[in-house]
């Protein structure tokens, strides 16, 4: 029983890591007032770029760099449309998701001739599990040993990065000058403008940070969690991250817990596949899978708490003219 729990929590951590990265990415963007449903597209684009570069250059790290570049480029398109041209944020997001879905397969087919996939990655082309010091020695220590050696140790570096990013994000958003301005520009851009700070530049920086984090999330999917790129491999995780962002009410630590909760539900659903509970019949796994979305809707509707986003989110900023 205890072993099973540890295994499930371990799976939770693996599934949650990209969600955390993507949700924190969304946090930077939305706190600055830019709605971002293109998290999905950025993850997918980065997953492809990372796997492709890693396959060609033989290094997961180079893959990561390319993944981030691809994701930031997409973020800049989003910024160009939403900030510079005052376009609709949702429409721009849908456009990016659609373009990436088609483009990754088209380019993949051209480069690798594998029906849109990248070659299977192995060895240095992937981020492999890291065994933390004393993990083997701790194995037999009751309770804590299991937690340390099977749950905390044995993940790849991007998982640790994802969890480190939570306090880092907290620090940036709440304790730095940039963070203060970031929050201000999402609540009241006029005030920021009046203070002589460029709303445009600030928002561009926010979407670029968002791009970097989505880039890491995408690289995680294709070069750490899986061994290569598959068509549409992000499979809605960007939207799930968006749900987690709302569920965590746009705050770093609650967002992390939301991601862990959603990841845990996923692990539960996988484990209960085909399990029959006496008296109830087969577990409706689909109900558990859709629980994150249902919970987010209930929260948004104010049935369990209340989620209020940044005030100026989704609204283009127009300087007043005399």
């Amino acid at each position: 029983m205890y072993d099973t729990l540890i295994q499930m929590l371990d799976a939770t951590v693996r599934v949650s890591a990209p969600l955390i990265l993507a949700a924190l990415a969304g946090l930077f963007s939305e706190r600055a007032g830019i709605v971002d449903i293109s998290l999905e597209g950025k993850i997918l684009g980065s997953a492809f770029a990372a796997a492709a570069a890693s396959a060609v250059f033989g290094s997961a790290w180079i893959g990561l760099v390319f993944g981030i570049i691809a994701s930031v480029a997409l973020a800049l398109i989003h910024g160009f449309a939403c900030i510079t041209h005052r376009g609709d944020h949702i429409v721009s997001g849908v456009a990016i998701n659609t373009i990436v879905a088609g483009m990754t397969v088209t380019l993949g087919l051209h480069w690798f001739h594998l029906g849109g996939q990248t070659p299977a990655l192995s060895g240095d082309q992937r981020f492999l599990a890291i065994t933390l010091p004393f993990a083997h020695a701790m194995q037999d220590v009751p309770v804590i040993g299991q937690i340390y050696s099977n749950l905390i140790s044995g993940h790849n570096i991007l998982v640790y990065l994802a969890f480190i990013m939570v306090p880092v994000t907290y620090w940036i958003v709440y304790k730095t000058r940039f963070g203060l301005r970031l929050r201000a520009v999402g609540e009241n851009p006029h005030a920021v403008d009046t203070a002589g700070i460029s709303v445009t530049w600030l928002r561009y920086r926010a979407v670029m940070v968002c791009g970097v984090l989505c880039g890491v999330a995408g690289a995680y999917l294709s070069t750490a969690h899986n061994a290569g790129f598959l068509k549409n491999m992000s499979a809605g995780q960007g939207y799930m991250a968006l749900a987690a962002l709302i569920f965590g009410k746009w705050r770093p630590v609650p967002v992390m817990f939301a991601c862990l909760l959603f990841g845990f539900l996923n692990a539960v659903a996988v484990r209960l596949q085909g399990v029959i509970i006496p008296g109830l019949g087969e577990v409706p796994v689909q109900a558990i899978e859709s629980l994150p979305y249902v919970l987010t809707i209930l929260l948004l509707a104010g049935f369990i708490g209340k989620a209020v986003g940044p005030k100026a989110v989704g609204r283009p900023y127009v300087k007043e003219r005399a």
Binding site: S92, N97, V100, Q286, L300, A301
Partner: protein
């Protein structure tokens, strides 16, 4: 006021044309970048979509879906709402169609089943849009987020229903049993061949005419009724709408239900018209394409009809071109679609403001003389 000085054709023809041209040019560059000849590809596409009778039939079949989802996005858009949940509403609408067919195909003739299936699609699609609409109107949650979530919930729900309840007994795949012929939407080729019109063996069916009727219906409803005026007022200026005594919450809910019903009609074409059984993922991507169609068609039924034909041609042509040029898959059409959304939606101000500015200045200069 300045708007009046811009000639009408600029907004309804020049700007959409410019946007689509740009989308095509960039897609052409992508095709060029992967070492293929874009002109040749375009040639195969146009031939595949319009060059022979069966191709035309396929183009119209795809267009049928896009008219429904395009209208769905358009109606919501006119009221200032972004219905991104066409995907889920189409899916659940198809469930409604399928349930009607499965329940009645042994006992009833087509003439009874068809209207009931239309009602089934509308009711199920509308119901799926009702919840997000209610939550937006009464509880202030954002419709875009809730409709996205509802797409995922729809997909989980369908898997559950198919696996546990609707899977046919005789087949291994996740299909329901095949409907009796009384629940098949007649193919146009069976209706038209006696008249000497040949559209090959294509899947375009009677739903196409229902789609045309829906275009007309939306035009009537949105531009020529009291309720349509209310919804357009809500879309243009919610504060004014409220001040004028319009029950904005009620209008919001009804608009979304109409939108959901329209998206649900995709089920008629797909389930009754082509697959003749309930199955998974038949709505794949049609809901999102509807956004491109509505933007391209400037949110007007005539524009949507034309844009739907264009996208139908792209889908059919894209499938066709891959036979002759295996490096180009239908995925390139997805790129075109994304670029259309980008240029005619997200970047609409990029050209529009400049072009309109040009015409306004020209008009002003002409007046001074």
């Amino acid at each position: 006021m300045n708007q009046a000085k811009v000639p009408v054709w600029v907004n309804i023809a020049l700007i959409p044309l410019l946007n689509i041209t740009l989308a095509f040019v960039i897609s052409g560059l992508v095709i060029y970048a992967i070492g293929q000849n874009p002109i040749e590809a375009a040639g195969y596409m146009i031939y595949g979509a319009f060059g022979y009778s069966e191709g035309i039939g396929y183009t119209l079949y795809y267009a049928t879906n896009f008219i429904f989802t395009g209208l769905a996005v358009c109606v919501a858009f006119k009221a200032g709402l972004f219905n991104i949940g066409g995907e889920g509403q189409a899916y659940i609408g198809g469930l409604g169609v399928g349930l009607v067919c499965l329940a009645l195909d042994h006992t009833m003739p087509f003439i009874v089943i068809a209207p009931l299936a239309i009602i089934g699609a509308a009711v199920f699609g509308a119901a799926w849009a009702y919840v997000p609409a209610y939550l937006q109107a009464r509880r202030g949650s954002h419709i875009v987020i809730t409709t996205i979530m509802f797409n995922f919930i729809a997909s989980s729900l369908m898997v559950y229903l198919m696996v546990n309840w609707l899977k046919g007994t005789q087949n291994m795949s996740l299909n329901s049993r095949t409907f009796e012929h009384s629940a098949w939407m007649p193919y146009l080729h069976t209706l038209l061949s006696p008249l000497g019109i040949d559209i090959g063996d294509s899947p375009v069916n009677l739903s196409f005419f229902w789609a045309l009727l829906c275009c007309f219906g939306v035009w009537l409803l949105v531009w020529h009724t009291r309720w349509g005026y209310q919804l357009r007022t809500l879309g243009t200026n919610p504060t004014a709408a409220k001040y004028a005594g319009i029950d904005t919450a009620k209008v919001t809910i009804w608009v979304m239900m109409v939108s959901g019903a329209l998206a649900g009609f995709v089920g008629l074409n797909e389930i009754m018209g082509v697959n003749h059984s309930l199955l998974l993922n038949f709505a794949a991507g049609y809901g999102f394409t509807g956004i491109a169609v509505a933007l391209m068609g400037r949110n007007h039924p005539i524009g949507i009809f034309l844009a739907a034909i264009l996208f139908g041609a792209l889908y059919q042509g894209g499938a066709e071109v891959s036979f002759d040029m295996p490096q180009i898959t239908p995925d390139i059409v997805v790129v075109v679609q994304g670029l259309v959304i980008l240029f005619s939606g997200a970047l609409e101000h990029m050209f529009k403001d400049r072009i309109e500015g040009f015409f306004i200045r020209r008009a002003a200069a002409a007046q001074e003389k």
